[in-house]
Amino acid sequence: MAEKTATQRIDFNELKSGGFIKQNQKDLFTVRLKVPGGRITPDKMMKIAEVAKKYSRMGYCHLSFRQSVEIIGVHIDDFDTVVKELAAVGQKIASCGPRVRVPTACGGCEYNPNGIMDTQSKALEVDEKFFGIPCPHKFKMGFSGCPIDCTRTREMDLGFQGVVYPVWGKDLCNGCTLCAKACQEGAIVPDKEGRPIFDESKCVYCGDCIRACPTDAWKDKKKGWLVRTGGKHGRHPREANEVLNFLPDNKVDDFVAATVKWYKENGKPKERIGSCIDRVGLEKFKKEVVGAFLKA
């Protein structure tokens, strides 16, 4: 009964985008706000605080596990005003349900010494192009700046993690062994003169050797993204498959588009892309999606 009157009172398109989640309490909803990559301006934070103070009938917000801010206990009658007031600073509502969600990202390389790739601008770009596209089930993406992988791309439906390919030049090397010390993977062992012997099979492409080398004998040959697909958490977690390494930065959008398209064609309703891959085979995904990017 409440539902019926509600339909007349609110803009139903807004509800369908999915950022309004029904609570236990009658007529109260959680309003999930979009914070792509977890980066938010003080202006938006202040507006959210103001709106939450006025319209949260339970008196608090919650920081979700995917970096969004949720205003708890918003009455259905207040939806319109909440949306309008937030729009004044450009704050949008997030999503839930079977569609492309807001991407998560780590702080990235602007201020973090480990960062290799710019996760923040990529997350924004991908969010602008793909947010809300309907899919067989939810579709979550994440961006990590380096192999420490704070964003946990192994749990994403589609995850991108920054990598750098190190190359060593003998001319500049003075045999100080700092690179071997810096490498936490045992991919560098010093020879008798202290010069590095590189075992690429152990390398995770973190670039610690490049940062450590005092003479710049190690340089980055290329940077890019390690791509993982099919990860999920929940009742039955599944670790993502590594499907491609060193995807160039300007190919990320194309890769997302190709993956979402494939998922829509191959996934059954309520099936995450990981389960879909388990059913139809990773080889099929590789052939039909990854193949086109291999020569990049």
Partner: protein, 81 residues
């Protein structure tokens, strides 16, 4: 290490037992009190300090000119930028 000529440091700091990132901060403060071109000797523990401090020094633009293994620790010579 292929670096023969003997360099006499202008100042030294022993950071054995000092943890990240205090060891780096102390190195930085010491370097700030020196003149450009002068050489600082730093003694660091193996492990995390040796992994992190040299790279931070490099990020600040200084030059590590020598690295030497002494018992259970490392001796670095840094030329101030």
């Amino acid at each position: 290490m292929v670096n023969e000529e003997k360099i006499i440091p202008d100042d030294k700091i022993d950071l054995r037992g000092v943890l990240c990132p205090i060891n780096f901060v102390k190195t930085k403060l010491k370097l700030e009190m020196m003149d450009a071109g002068q050489v600082l000797e730093v003694i660091l523990d193996d492990g995390e300090p040796l992994r992190s401090v040299p790279r931070s020094i490099k990020e600040e633009g200084h030059k590590i000119i020598k690295v030497e293994n002494i018992e259970n620790a490392y001796r670095l010579l840094i030329r101030k930028a």
